[in-house]
Amino acid sequence: MTVGFYLLQRLLYTVPLLLGAVTIVFVLVHLAPGNPVDYIIGESGADKEMIARLTAEMGLDRPLYIQLLRYLGQVASGNLGYSFASNTPVLELILDRLPATLLLMASQLVFSISLGVTLGVLSARRPNSLLDNTITVFSLASFAIPVFWLGQLLILGFGYYLDWLPIQGMVNLRAGYTGFDHVLDVAHHMILPVLTLTLYNLALILRLTRGSLLEVVGQEYIKVARSKGLAENTVMIKHALRNALLPVVTVIGLEFRALIAGAVLTETVFAWPGLGRLTFDAINARDYPLLMGMFIFISLLVAIGNLVTDLLYALLDPRIRYQ
Protein backbone atom coordinates (compact mmCIF):
# COMPACT_ATOMS: atom_id res chain seq x y z
CA MET A 1 0.00 0.00 0.00
CA THR A 2 1.30 3.43 -0.89
CA VAL A 3 1.86 6.17 1.64
CA GLY A 4 -0.59 8.42 -0.24
CA PHE A 5 -3.45 5.97 0.04
CA TYR A 6 -2.66 5.34 3.68
CA LEU A 7 -2.72 9.08 4.38
CA LEU A 8 -6.07 9.50 2.65
CA GLN A 9 -7.51 6.61 4.61
CA ARG A 10 -6.26 8.01 7.88
CA LEU A 11 -7.64 11.47 7.08
CA LEU A 12 -11.05 9.93 6.40
CA TYR A 13 -10.91 8.21 9.78
CA THR A 14 -10.55 11.60 11.47
CA VAL A 15 -14.02 12.67 10.29
CA PRO A 16 -16.04 10.34 12.57
CA LEU A 17 -13.45 10.94 15.28
CA LEU A 18 -14.01 14.70 15.13
CA LEU A 19 -17.77 14.25 14.95
CA GLY A 20 -17.71 12.17 18.13
CA ALA A 21 -15.40 14.60 19.90
CA VAL A 22 -17.50 17.62 18.92
CA THR A 23 -20.73 16.00 20.14
CA ILE A 24 -19.30 14.99 23.49
CA VAL A 25 -17.68 18.34 24.09
CA PHE A 26 -20.80 20.20 22.99
CA VAL A 27 -22.90 18.39 25.56
CA LEU A 28 -20.29 18.81 28.29
CA VAL A 29 -19.88 22.52 27.65
CA HIS A 30 -23.61 23.10 27.79
CA LEU A 31 -23.97 21.02 30.92
CA ALA A 32 -21.42 23.16 32.74
CA PRO A 33 -23.05 25.63 35.15
CA GLY A 34 -23.55 29.18 33.96
CA ASN A 35 -24.15 30.44 30.46
CA PRO A 36 -23.04 33.31 28.23
CA VAL A 37 -26.11 35.36 29.04
CA ASP A 38 -25.11 35.46 32.71
CA TYR A 39 -21.65 36.55 31.69
CA ILE A 40 -22.88 39.36 29.43
CA ILE A 41 -25.35 40.70 31.96
CA GLY A 42 -22.92 40.27 34.80
CA GLU A 43 -23.86 41.85 38.13
CA SER A 44 -26.02 44.59 36.59
CA GLY A 45 -29.20 42.59 37.07
CA ALA A 46 -31.12 43.04 33.81
CA ASP A 47 -34.85 42.32 33.64
CA LYS A 48 -36.33 39.01 32.63
CA GLU A 49 -37.38 40.22 29.20
CA MET A 50 -33.84 41.20 28.34
CA ILE A 51 -32.54 37.81 29.48
CA ALA A 52 -35.18 36.01 27.43
CA ARG A 53 -34.37 38.13 24.37
CA LEU A 54 -30.63 37.49 24.66
CA THR A 55 -31.20 33.76 25.22
CA ALA A 56 -33.42 33.56 22.13
CA GLU A 57 -30.93 35.60 20.10
CA MET A 58 -28.18 33.12 20.87
CA GLY A 59 -30.49 30.20 20.16
CA LEU A 60 -30.05 28.92 23.71
CA ASP A 61 -33.78 28.49 24.24
CA ARG A 62 -33.94 25.55 21.84
CA PRO A 63 -33.57 21.93 23.02
CA LEU A 64 -29.95 20.85 23.29
CA TYR A 65 -30.11 18.35 20.41
CA ILE A 66 -31.50 21.00 18.08
CA GLN A 67 -28.66 23.31 19.08
CA LEU A 68 -26.18 20.51 18.43
CA LEU A 69 -27.63 19.66 15.01
CA ARG A 70 -27.66 23.30 14.00
CA TYR A 71 -24.07 23.68 15.15
CA LEU A 72 -22.94 20.55 13.28
CA GLY A 73 -24.64 21.78 10.12
CA GLN A 74 -22.95 25.11 10.49
CA VAL A 75 -19.51 23.51 11.05
CA ALA A 76 -20.00 21.19 8.08
CA SER A 77 -20.41 24.25 5.87
CA GLY A 78 -17.11 25.57 7.22
CA ASN A 79 -18.60 28.19 9.50
CA LEU A 80 -17.47 28.11 13.11
CA GLY A 81 -19.75 30.99 14.05
CA TYR A 82 -19.14 34.22 15.92
CA SER A 83 -17.68 34.60 19.36
CA PHE A 84 -20.35 35.67 21.87
CA ALA A 85 -17.88 37.75 23.79
CA SER A 86 -16.16 39.70 21.02
CA ASN A 87 -18.50 39.27 18.06
CA THR A 88 -15.56 38.30 15.87
CA PRO A 89 -15.61 35.19 13.63
CA VAL A 90 -14.29 32.25 15.66
CA LEU A 91 -12.05 31.06 12.85
CA GLU A 92 -10.42 34.45 12.65
CA LEU A 93 -9.75 34.50 16.40
CA ILE A 94 -8.25 31.02 16.30
CA LEU A 95 -6.06 31.58 13.25
CA ASP A 96 -4.88 34.80 14.82
CA ARG A 97 -3.67 32.95 17.94
CA LEU A 98 -2.53 29.70 16.34
CA PRO A 99 0.99 30.79 15.31
CA ALA A 100 1.93 31.81 18.85
CA THR A 101 0.94 28.40 20.20
CA LEU A 102 2.62 26.49 17.40
CA LEU A 103 5.80 28.47 18.01
CA LEU A 104 5.75 27.57 21.68
CA MET A 105 4.94 23.90 21.14
CA ALA A 106 7.40 23.34 18.32
CA SER A 107 10.25 24.96 20.26
CA GLN A 108 9.60 23.00 23.40
CA LEU A 109 9.28 19.75 21.40
CA VAL A 110 12.64 20.38 19.74
CA PHE A 111 14.30 21.14 23.07
CA SER A 112 12.69 18.40 25.13
CA ILE A 113 13.31 15.70 22.50
CA SER A 114 16.91 16.62 21.75
CA LEU A 115 17.82 17.18 25.40
CA GLY A 116 15.73 14.27 26.65
CA VAL A 117 17.25 11.78 24.23
CA THR A 118 20.80 13.04 24.83
CA LEU A 119 20.48 12.89 28.61
CA GLY A 120 18.75 9.50 28.33
CA VAL A 121 21.68 8.10 26.36
CA LEU A 122 24.19 9.53 28.83
CA SER A 123 22.18 8.03 31.66
CA ALA A 124 21.95 4.59 30.06
CA ARG A 125 25.63 4.40 29.13
CA ARG A 126 26.56 3.92 32.75
CA PRO A 127 23.49 2.90 34.71
CA ASN A 128 23.56 3.72 38.43
CA SER A 129 26.64 5.90 38.06
CA LEU A 130 26.83 9.32 39.69
CA LEU A 131 25.82 10.98 36.39
CA ASP A 132 22.88 8.62 35.94
CA ASN A 133 21.64 9.19 39.48
CA THR A 134 21.99 12.96 39.19
CA ILE A 135 20.01 12.99 35.96
CA THR A 136 17.39 10.71 37.52
CA VAL A 137 16.84 12.94 40.55
CA PHE A 138 16.69 16.06 38.39
CA SER A 139 14.23 14.53 35.94
CA LEU A 140 11.94 13.08 38.60
CA ALA A 141 11.86 16.45 40.34
CA SER A 142 11.00 18.40 37.21
CA PHE A 143 8.36 15.82 36.27
CA ALA A 144 6.73 15.94 39.70
CA ILE A 145 6.36 19.73 39.83
CA PRO A 146 3.04 20.92 38.29
CA VAL A 147 3.62 23.07 35.19
CA PHE A 148 1.76 26.10 36.44
CA TRP A 149 3.70 26.15 39.70
CA LEU A 150 7.01 25.59 37.94
CA GLY A 151 6.13 28.51 35.66
CA GLN A 152 5.45 30.74 38.63
CA LEU A 153 8.67 29.70 40.36
CA LEU A 154 10.61 30.60 37.22
CA ILE A 155 8.80 33.93 36.99
CA LEU A 156 9.67 34.61 40.61
CA GLY A 157 13.32 33.62 40.18
CA PHE A 158 14.31 34.90 36.75
CA GLY A 159 11.70 37.61 36.29
CA TYR A 160 11.17 39.13 39.71
CA TYR A 161 14.32 38.60 41.77
CA LEU A 162 16.95 38.44 39.06
CA ASP A 163 14.99 40.55 36.58
CA TRP A 164 16.75 38.90 33.61
CA LEU A 165 13.79 37.83 31.55
CA PRO A 166 10.37 39.16 30.57
CA ILE A 167 7.57 37.28 32.30
CA GLN A 168 4.46 38.30 30.39
CA GLY A 169 3.34 38.31 26.79
CA MET A 170 5.12 37.64 23.55
CA VAL A 171 6.54 41.04 22.63
CA ASN A 172 7.57 44.23 24.30
CA LEU A 173 4.61 46.40 23.27
CA ARG A 174 6.21 49.67 24.31
CA ALA A 175 9.39 49.14 22.31
CA GLY A 176 7.60 48.24 19.08
CA TYR A 177 10.53 46.39 17.52
CA THR A 178 10.53 45.52 13.84
CA GLY A 179 12.53 43.13 11.64
CA PHE A 180 15.28 41.14 13.31
CA ASP A 181 14.86 43.04 16.57
CA HIS A 182 11.30 41.76 16.67
CA VAL A 183 12.51 38.17 16.27
CA LEU A 184 14.98 38.65 19.11
CA ASP A 185 12.30 40.21 21.26
CA VAL A 186 9.96 37.24 20.73
CA ALA A 187 12.80 34.81 21.43
CA HIS A 188 13.55 36.66 24.64
CA HIS A 189 9.93 36.39 25.73
CA MET A 190 9.86 32.71 24.79
CA ILE A 191 12.64 31.63 27.11
CA LEU A 192 10.62 31.17 30.30
CA PRO A 193 7.49 29.51 28.85
CA VAL A 194 9.59 27.21 26.66
CA LEU A 195 11.83 26.37 29.61
CA THR A 196 8.78 25.55 31.73
CA LEU A 197 7.29 23.22 29.14
CA THR A 198 10.66 21.68 28.26
CA LEU A 199 11.51 20.87 31.87
CA TYR A 200 8.20 19.12 32.23
CA ASN A 201 8.24 17.07 29.02
CA LEU A 202 11.97 16.44 29.04
CA ALA A 203 11.67 14.23 32.10
CA LEU A 204 9.28 11.81 30.43
CA ILE A 205 11.34 11.52 27.25
CA LEU A 206 14.53 11.10 29.25
CA ARG A 207 13.17 8.33 31.47
CA LEU A 208 11.70 6.51 28.49
CA THR A 209 14.88 6.76 26.44
CA ARG A 210 16.96 5.50 29.33
CA GLY A 211 14.68 2.57 30.11
CA SER A 212 14.22 1.59 26.50
CA LEU A 213 17.96 1.82 25.78
CA LEU A 214 18.84 -0.35 28.77
CA GLU A 215 16.46 -2.97 27.45
CA VAL A 216 17.84 -2.81 23.91
CA VAL A 217 21.45 -2.96 25.12
CA GLY A 218 20.71 -6.42 26.53
CA GLN A 219 19.72 -7.70 23.09
CA GLU A 220 21.90 -10.12 21.19
CA TYR A 221 22.38 -7.84 18.18
CA ILE A 222 24.13 -5.34 20.45
CA LYS A 223 26.58 -8.06 21.49
CA VAL A 224 27.01 -8.82 17.79
CA ALA A 225 27.66 -5.14 17.06
CA ARG A 226 30.36 -5.11 19.75
CA SER A 227 31.83 -8.34 18.40
CA LYS A 228 32.28 -6.56 15.06
CA GLY A 229 34.79 -4.23 16.70
CA LEU A 230 32.58 -1.13 16.51
CA ALA A 231 33.31 1.70 18.90
CA GLU A 232 30.96 1.99 21.87
CA ASN A 233 29.48 5.25 20.55
CA THR A 234 28.63 3.63 17.22
CA VAL A 235 27.07 0.68 19.03
CA MET A 236 24.95 2.99 21.17
CA ILE A 237 23.87 5.51 18.54
CA LYS A 238 23.63 3.45 15.38
CA HIS A 239 22.61 0.05 16.71
CA ALA A 240 20.88 0.69 20.02
CA LEU A 241 19.32 4.13 19.89
CA ARG A 242 17.24 3.66 16.76
CA ASN A 243 15.64 0.56 18.20
CA ALA A 244 15.22 2.24 21.56
CA LEU A 245 13.45 5.27 20.08
CA LEU A 246 10.43 3.25 18.89
CA PRO A 247 8.58 3.29 22.23
CA VAL A 248 9.72 6.87 22.84
CA VAL A 249 8.09 8.04 19.61
CA THR A 250 4.87 6.23 20.50
CA VAL A 251 4.63 7.85 23.89
CA ILE A 252 5.42 11.34 22.58
CA GLY A 253 2.57 10.83 20.12
CA LEU A 254 0.19 9.65 22.82
CA GLU A 255 1.23 12.48 25.09
CA PHE A 256 0.44 15.06 22.45
CA ARG A 257 -2.81 15.96 24.17
CA ALA A 258 -0.93 16.41 27.45
CA LEU A 259 1.37 18.80 25.61
CA ILE A 260 -1.64 20.87 24.61
CA ALA A 261 -3.03 20.78 28.14
CA GLY A 262 0.38 21.92 29.38
CA ALA A 263 0.35 24.70 26.80
CA VAL A 264 -3.00 26.01 28.08
CA LEU A 265 -1.66 26.26 31.63
CA THR A 266 1.69 27.68 30.61
CA GLU A 267 0.18 30.27 28.28
CA THR A 268 -2.14 31.37 31.05
CA VAL A 269 0.69 31.74 33.54
CA PHE A 270 2.86 33.70 31.10
CA ALA A 271 -0.02 35.61 29.42
CA TRP A 272 1.18 34.16 26.13
CA PRO A 273 -1.24 35.25 23.38
CA GLY A 274 -1.88 31.75 22.06
CA LEU A 275 -4.71 29.23 21.83
CA GLY A 276 -4.28 28.13 25.41
CA ARG A 277 -4.86 31.60 26.72
CA LEU A 278 -7.81 31.99 24.31
CA THR A 279 -9.35 28.77 25.60
CA PHE A 280 -8.96 29.90 29.17
CA ASP A 281 -10.73 33.19 28.41
CA ALA A 282 -13.44 31.41 26.42
CA ILE A 283 -14.19 29.10 29.33
CA ASN A 284 -14.48 32.02 31.72
CA ALA A 285 -16.88 33.84 29.40
CA ARG A 286 -18.88 30.66 28.60
CA ASP A 287 -18.27 31.69 25.01
CA TYR A 288 -19.80 28.53 23.48
CA PRO A 289 -18.98 29.11 19.80
CA LEU A 290 -15.38 30.05 20.51
CA LEU A 291 -14.97 27.18 22.97
CA MET A 292 -16.37 24.68 20.47
CA GLY A 293 -14.14 26.03 17.73
CA MET A 294 -11.16 25.64 20.04
CA PHE A 295 -12.02 22.04 20.81
CA ILE A 296 -12.37 21.23 17.14
CA PHE A 297 -8.95 22.68 16.53
CA ILE A 298 -7.36 20.87 19.45
CA SER A 299 -8.93 17.57 18.34
CA LEU A 300 -7.56 18.20 14.88
CA LEU A 301 -4.09 18.89 16.32
CA VAL A 302 -4.19 15.66 18.33
CA ALA A 303 -5.34 13.68 15.28
CA ILE A 304 -2.50 15.15 13.21
CA GLY A 305 -0.06 14.41 16.03
CA ASN A 306 -1.14 10.76 16.06
CA LEU A 307 -0.85 10.51 12.30
CA VAL A 308 2.67 11.96 12.33
CA THR A 309 3.56 9.46 15.08
CA ASP A 310 2.39 6.53 12.98
CA LEU A 311 4.28 7.76 9.93
CA LEU A 312 7.45 8.26 11.97
CA TYR A 313 7.08 4.82 13.47
CA ALA A 314 6.97 3.22 10.03
CA LEU A 315 9.99 5.27 9.05
CA LEU A 316 11.99 4.04 12.07
CA ASP A 317 10.95 0.41 12.00
CA PRO A 318 11.04 -1.40 8.66
CA ARG A 319 8.90 -4.21 10.09
CA ILE A 320 5.92 -1.85 10.19
CA ARG A 321 4.01 -1.39 6.95
CA TYR A 322 1.11 0.90 6.07
CA GLN A 323 -2.12 -1.03 6.01
Binding site: E220, Y221, K223, K228, G229, K238, R242, N243
Partner: protein, 326 residues
Protein backbone atom coordinates in the same frame (compact mmCIF):
# COMPACT_ATOMS: atom_id res chain seq x y z
CA UNK B 1 54.62 -24.56 19.12
CA UNK B 2 54.47 -22.62 15.88
CA UNK B 3 51.12 -23.85 14.70
CA UNK B 4 49.24 -22.67 17.80
CA UNK B 5 46.94 -19.74 17.03
CA UNK B 6 45.35 -19.18 20.40
CA UNK B 7 46.51 -20.27 23.80
CA UNK B 8 44.42 -19.85 26.93
CA UNK B 9 46.28 -20.30 30.21
CA UNK B 10 44.62 -20.59 33.59
CA UNK B 11 41.66 -18.38 32.69
CA UNK B 12 39.44 -17.26 35.54
CA UNK B 13 36.37 -15.16 34.73
CA UNK B 14 34.15 -14.15 37.61
CA UNK B 15 30.94 -12.16 37.91
CA UNK B 16 30.56 -9.84 40.86
CA UNK B 17 26.91 -9.16 41.69
CA UNK B 18 25.67 -7.77 45.02
CA UNK B 19 28.67 -8.91 47.07
CA UNK B 20 28.39 -12.38 45.56
CA UNK B 21 30.97 -13.88 43.27
CA UNK B 22 29.94 -16.26 40.52
CA UNK B 23 33.06 -18.13 39.44
CA UNK B 24 31.89 -18.97 35.94
CA UNK B 25 35.30 -19.96 34.59
CA UNK B 26 37.80 -21.43 37.06
CA UNK B 27 41.21 -22.09 35.55
CA UNK B 28 40.66 -23.09 31.94
CA UNK B 29 43.61 -24.07 29.74
CA UNK B 30 42.97 -24.46 26.03
CA UNK B 31 44.85 -24.11 22.80
CA UNK B 32 43.69 -24.02 19.21
CA UNK B 33 45.95 -24.76 16.27
CA UNK B 34 45.80 -23.04 12.89
CA UNK B 35 43.05 -24.53 10.76
CA UNK B 36 41.87 -26.68 13.62
CA UNK B 37 38.35 -27.06 15.00
CA UNK B 38 38.11 -27.44 18.74
CA UNK B 39 34.78 -28.48 20.21
CA UNK B 40 33.88 -27.05 23.60
CA UNK B 41 31.12 -29.12 25.12
CA UNK B 42 29.06 -28.79 28.26
CA UNK B 43 25.57 -28.10 29.52
CA UNK B 44 24.03 -24.67 30.12
CA UNK B 45 25.92 -22.82 32.82
CA UNK B 46 29.10 -24.84 32.50
CA UNK B 47 31.07 -21.74 31.51
CA UNK B 48 31.65 -22.47 27.84
CA UNK B 49 30.04 -19.29 26.54
CA UNK B 50 31.78 -17.20 29.18
CA UNK B 51 35.09 -18.73 28.10
CA UNK B 52 34.32 -17.77 24.50
CA UNK B 53 33.23 -14.27 25.39
CA UNK B 54 36.34 -13.83 27.53
CA UNK B 55 38.46 -14.33 24.42
CA UNK B 56 36.87 -11.30 22.73
CA UNK B 57 36.37 -9.58 26.09
CA UNK B 58 32.65 -9.30 25.49
CA UNK B 59 31.71 -10.33 29.00
CA UNK B 60 28.84 -8.38 30.49
CA UNK B 61 30.17 -5.18 32.04
CA UNK B 62 30.73 -4.09 34.73
CA UNK B 63 29.82 -7.29 36.62
CA UNK B 64 32.03 -9.70 34.69
CA UNK B 65 35.83 -9.61 34.92
CA UNK B 66 38.77 -11.71 33.85
CA UNK B 67 40.51 -12.00 37.20
CA UNK B 68 43.40 -14.24 36.25
CA UNK B 69 45.06 -15.90 33.30
CA UNK B 70 46.32 -15.16 29.82
CA UNK B 71 44.70 -15.46 26.40
CA UNK B 72 47.54 -15.32 23.91
CA UNK B 73 46.49 -14.78 20.32
CA UNK B 74 49.27 -14.37 17.74
CA UNK B 75 51.60 -13.02 20.41
CA UNK B 76 49.14 -10.64 22.05
CA UNK B 77 47.64 -11.24 25.47
CA UNK B 78 43.96 -10.44 24.96
CA UNK B 79 43.26 -10.63 28.69
CA UNK B 80 45.32 -7.49 29.26
CA UNK B 81 45.06 -5.75 25.86
CA UNK B 82 43.66 -2.22 25.67
CA UNK B 83 40.10 -1.61 24.50
CA UNK B 84 41.33 0.04 21.30
CA UNK B 85 43.46 -2.98 20.43
CA UNK B 86 40.55 -5.32 21.19
CA UNK B 87 38.35 -3.38 18.78
CA UNK B 88 40.91 -3.91 16.03
CA UNK B 89 40.83 -7.65 16.71
CA UNK B 90 37.06 -8.10 17.07
CA UNK B 91 35.34 -8.83 13.79
CA UNK B 92 38.69 -8.56 12.04
CA UNK B 93 41.15 -11.18 13.39
CA UNK B 94 38.65 -13.08 15.55
CA UNK B 95 34.94 -13.18 14.77
CA UNK B 96 32.02 -14.63 16.58
CA UNK B 97 28.65 -16.05 15.60
CA UNK B 98 25.87 -16.54 18.08
CA UNK B 99 23.15 -18.99 18.88
CA UNK B 100 20.02 -17.05 17.97
CA UNK B 101 19.99 -15.98 14.33
CA UNK B 102 16.54 -14.48 14.89
CA UNK B 103 17.90 -11.93 17.34
CA UNK B 104 21.54 -11.47 16.32
CA UNK B 105 20.80 -9.18 13.41
CA UNK B 106 19.72 -5.60 14.04
CA UNK B 107 16.03 -5.42 13.03
CA UNK B 108 16.18 -1.84 11.72
CA UNK B 109 19.30 -2.06 9.54
CA UNK B 110 19.48 -3.51 6.04
CA UNK B 111 21.35 -6.80 5.57
CA UNK B 112 23.87 -5.14 3.26
CA UNK B 113 24.73 -2.46 5.79
CA UNK B 114 25.22 -4.98 8.59
CA UNK B 115 27.89 -6.73 6.52
CA UNK B 116 29.33 -3.62 4.89
CA UNK B 117 29.95 -1.77 8.15
CA UNK B 118 32.54 -4.36 9.21
CA UNK B 119 34.48 -4.07 5.95
CA UNK B 120 34.35 -0.29 6.04
CA UNK B 121 35.61 -0.38 9.62
CA UNK B 122 38.45 -2.87 9.31
CA UNK B 123 39.33 -2.78 5.61
CA UNK B 124 38.64 0.92 5.06
CA UNK B 125 36.59 0.26 1.93
CA UNK B 126 34.49 3.18 0.66
CA UNK B 127 30.72 2.68 1.11
CA UNK B 128 29.92 1.66 -2.47
CA UNK B 129 32.71 -0.94 -2.67
CA UNK B 130 31.85 -2.22 0.80
CA UNK B 131 28.32 -2.93 -0.40
CA UNK B 132 29.60 -4.75 -3.49
CA UNK B 133 31.86 -6.74 -1.17
CA UNK B 134 28.86 -7.52 1.04
CA UNK B 135 26.98 -8.84 -1.97
CA UNK B 136 29.91 -11.11 -2.83
CA UNK B 137 30.03 -12.38 0.75
CA UNK B 138 26.32 -13.25 0.64
CA UNK B 139 26.89 -15.24 -2.54
CA UNK B 140 29.82 -16.98 -0.87
CA UNK B 141 27.70 -18.19 2.06
CA UNK B 142 25.19 -19.61 -0.38
CA UNK B 143 22.44 -17.00 -0.42
CA UNK B 144 20.63 -16.87 -3.73
CA UNK B 145 19.93 -13.52 -5.36
CA UNK B 146 22.33 -11.62 -3.07
CA UNK B 147 21.83 -8.29 -4.87
CA UNK B 148 18.20 -8.28 -3.77
CA UNK B 149 18.93 -9.59 -0.28
CA UNK B 150 21.35 -6.81 0.69
CA UNK B 151 18.50 -4.30 0.45
CA UNK B 152 16.24 -6.39 2.70
CA UNK B 153 15.73 -6.30 6.44
CA UNK B 154 16.32 -9.26 8.77
CA UNK B 155 12.62 -9.99 9.25
CA UNK B 156 12.35 -10.78 5.54
CA UNK B 157 14.80 -13.70 5.89
CA UNK B 158 14.38 -17.18 7.34
CA UNK B 159 16.35 -18.40 10.34
CA UNK B 160 18.77 -20.42 8.23
CA UNK B 161 19.39 -17.48 5.92
CA UNK B 162 19.98 -15.18 8.85
CA UNK B 163 22.60 -17.54 10.23
CA UNK B 164 24.24 -17.49 6.79
CA UNK B 165 24.23 -13.69 6.96
CA UNK B 166 25.84 -13.90 10.42
CA UNK B 167 28.54 -16.15 8.96
CA UNK B 168 29.04 -13.68 6.11
CA UNK B 169 29.48 -10.87 8.66
CA UNK B 170 31.89 -12.97 10.72
CA UNK B 171 34.03 -13.98 7.76
CA UNK B 172 33.88 -10.69 5.87
CA UNK B 173 37.30 -9.50 7.00
CA UNK B 174 39.01 -12.86 6.61
CA UNK B 175 39.62 -13.54 10.32
CA UNK B 176 42.09 -16.15 11.57
CA UNK B 177 39.64 -17.51 14.09
CA UNK B 178 35.90 -18.02 14.35
CA UNK B 179 34.13 -18.53 17.64
CA UNK B 180 30.83 -20.24 16.96
CA UNK B 181 28.63 -20.23 20.08
CA UNK B 182 25.95 -22.88 19.51
CA UNK B 183 25.62 -21.84 15.85
CA UNK B 184 23.05 -24.46 14.94
CA UNK B 185 21.14 -25.00 18.18
CA UNK B 186 18.21 -22.81 17.14
CA UNK B 187 17.89 -24.31 13.66
CA UNK B 188 15.99 -27.27 12.18
CA UNK B 189 18.08 -30.39 11.66
CA UNK B 190 18.17 -30.02 7.87
CA UNK B 191 19.21 -26.37 8.07
CA UNK B 192 21.66 -27.37 10.82
CA UNK B 193 23.37 -29.81 8.45
CA UNK B 194 23.57 -27.15 5.74
CA UNK B 195 25.12 -24.58 8.08
CA UNK B 196 27.67 -27.10 9.39
CA UNK B 197 28.56 -28.06 5.83
CA UNK B 198 28.95 -24.39 4.94
CA UNK B 199 31.29 -23.83 7.89
CA UNK B 200 33.36 -26.86 6.91
CA UNK B 201 33.73 -25.79 3.28
CA UNK B 202 34.61 -22.22 4.27
CA UNK B 203 37.20 -23.62 6.64
CA UNK B 204 38.72 -25.75 3.86
CA UNK B 205 39.03 -22.66 1.66
CA UNK B 206 40.39 -20.25 4.24
CA UNK B 207 42.20 -22.39 6.80
CA UNK B 208 40.42 -20.57 9.61
CA UNK B 209 40.45 -22.01 13.12
CA UNK B 210 37.09 -22.65 14.75
CA UNK B 211 36.19 -22.76 18.41
CA UNK B 212 32.88 -24.59 18.27
CA UNK B 213 30.76 -24.30 21.37
CA UNK B 214 27.91 -26.74 21.61
CA UNK B 215 26.06 -29.08 23.89
CA UNK B 216 25.50 -31.44 20.98
CA UNK B 217 28.08 -34.21 20.85
CA UNK B 218 26.82 -35.18 17.39
CA UNK B 219 27.90 -31.79 16.04
CA UNK B 220 31.29 -32.20 17.69
CA UNK B 221 31.79 -35.64 16.17
CA UNK B 222 31.05 -34.19 12.76
CA UNK B 223 33.09 -31.00 12.95
CA UNK B 224 35.91 -31.08 15.50
CA UNK B 225 39.35 -32.65 15.69
CA UNK B 226 39.66 -32.17 19.44
CA UNK B 227 37.10 -31.78 22.22
CA UNK B 228 37.16 -30.18 25.63
CA UNK B 229 34.33 -31.03 28.01
CA UNK B 230 33.47 -28.31 30.53
CA UNK B 231 31.72 -28.73 33.83
CA UNK B 232 31.14 -26.04 36.47
CA UNK B 233 33.73 -23.68 35.03
CA UNK B 234 36.48 -26.21 34.51
CA UNK B 235 37.64 -28.54 31.79
CA UNK B 236 36.98 -32.05 33.02
CA UNK B 237 38.10 -33.94 29.94
CA UNK B 238 40.15 -33.01 26.92
CA UNK B 239 40.97 -35.37 24.05
CA UNK B 240 41.00 -35.86 20.30
CA UNK B 241 37.56 -36.69 19.00
CA UNK B 242 38.29 -40.33 18.19
CA UNK B 243 39.58 -41.29 21.63
CA UNK B 244 36.88 -39.33 23.46
CA UNK B 245 34.10 -41.12 21.62
CA UNK B 246 35.87 -44.48 21.83
CA UNK B 247 36.69 -44.24 25.46
CA UNK B 248 35.16 -41.44 27.51
CA UNK B 249 36.94 -41.41 30.88
CA UNK B 250 35.19 -38.85 33.02
CA UNK B 251 31.89 -40.05 34.49
CA UNK B 252 30.30 -36.79 33.30
CA UNK B 253 31.38 -37.43 29.69
CA UNK B 254 30.14 -40.99 29.98
CA UNK B 255 26.80 -39.66 31.15
CA UNK B 256 26.65 -37.22 28.23
CA UNK B 257 27.38 -40.03 25.77
CA UNK B 258 24.81 -42.32 27.31
CA UNK B 259 22.12 -39.67 26.98
CA UNK B 260 22.43 -39.46 23.18
CA UNK B 261 19.47 -41.25 21.64
CA UNK B 262 20.68 -44.09 19.39
CA UNK B 263 19.14 -44.96 16.08
CA UNK B 264 21.00 -48.25 15.65
CA UNK B 265 19.70 -49.91 18.80
CA UNK B 266 16.16 -50.72 19.90
CA UNK B 267 14.85 -48.34 22.56
CA UNK B 268 15.04 -49.45 26.18
CA UNK B 269 11.85 -51.19 27.39
CA UNK B 270 10.74 -48.20 29.46
CA UNK B 271 11.61 -45.85 26.55
CA UNK B 272 13.30 -43.48 28.94
CA UNK B 273 16.56 -41.91 27.78
CA UNK B 274 19.34 -42.22 30.35
CA UNK B 275 20.03 -38.84 31.94
CA UNK B 276 22.58 -37.47 34.38
CA UNK B 277 20.85 -37.24 37.74
CA UNK B 278 20.81 -33.99 39.66
CA UNK B 279 21.60 -30.42 38.72
CA UNK B 280 24.68 -28.39 37.86
CA UNK B 281 26.09 -27.17 41.21
CA UNK B 282 25.47 -23.57 42.20
CA UNK B 283 28.52 -21.60 41.11
CA UNK B 284 28.04 -19.26 44.06
CA UNK B 285 28.52 -22.15 46.42
CA UNK B 286 30.68 -24.95 45.05
CA UNK B 287 31.32 -28.00 47.20
CA UNK B 288 34.83 -28.83 48.41
CA UNK B 289 36.48 -31.49 46.28
CA UNK B 290 35.23 -32.49 42.83
CA UNK B 291 32.42 -30.30 41.42
CA UNK B 292 30.69 -33.36 39.94
CA UNK B 293 30.60 -35.39 43.19
CA UNK B 294 26.87 -35.03 43.89
CA UNK B 295 25.85 -36.37 40.48
CA UNK B 296 28.61 -38.92 40.00
CA UNK B 297 27.67 -42.62 40.06
CA UNK B 298 31.30 -43.52 40.90
CA UNK B 299 31.86 -41.00 43.69
CA UNK B 300 34.11 -42.07 46.56
CA UNK B 301 35.71 -40.66 49.69
CA UNK B 302 38.51 -38.72 48.05
CA UNK B 303 36.17 -36.87 45.65
CA UNK B 304 34.52 -35.14 48.61
CA UNK B 305 37.78 -33.93 50.10
CA UNK B 306 40.12 -32.93 47.30
CA UNK B 307 39.63 -31.43 43.90
CA UNK B 308 41.19 -33.66 41.23
CA UNK B 309 43.76 -32.08 38.86
CA UNK B 310 43.49 -32.31 35.06
CA UNK B 311 46.01 -35.04 34.39
CA UNK B 312 47.14 -36.81 31.25
CA UNK B 313 46.03 -40.34 30.44
CA UNK B 314 47.91 -41.24 27.30
CA UNK B 315 49.35 -38.67 24.89
CA UNK B 316 46.20 -36.97 23.66
CA UNK B 317 43.81 -37.46 26.52
CA UNK B 318 43.50 -35.48 29.78
CA UNK B 319 40.91 -36.03 32.47
CA UNK B 320 40.01 -34.42 35.80
CA UNK B 321 38.95 -37.43 37.87
CA UNK B 322 40.42 -39.32 40.84
CA UNK B 323 39.60 -42.61 39.10
CA UNK B 324 42.22 -41.88 36.47
CA UNK B 325 44.98 -40.13 38.43
CA UNK B 326 48.25 -41.85 39.20
Amino acid sequence: MDDVLLNIEDLHTYFFVDDKVAKSVRGVDLSIGRGETLGLVGESGSGKSVTAQSILRLIQQPAGRIVQGRIVFEGTDLASAGEEEMRRIRGNRISMIFQEPMTSLNPVLRIGEQIAEVVRLHRGLPPREALVYATDMLAKVGIADPARRIAQFPHELSGGMRQRVMIAIALACGPRMLIADEPTTALDVTIQAQILELMRSLQRDSGISILLITHDLGVVAEMAQRVAVMYAGQIVEHADVASLFEQPLHPYTEGLMASIPRMDEPPSPDRILPAIAGMVPNIHDLPAGCAFQDRCPKVHERCRLEEPPLSPVGTTHDVRCWLHVG
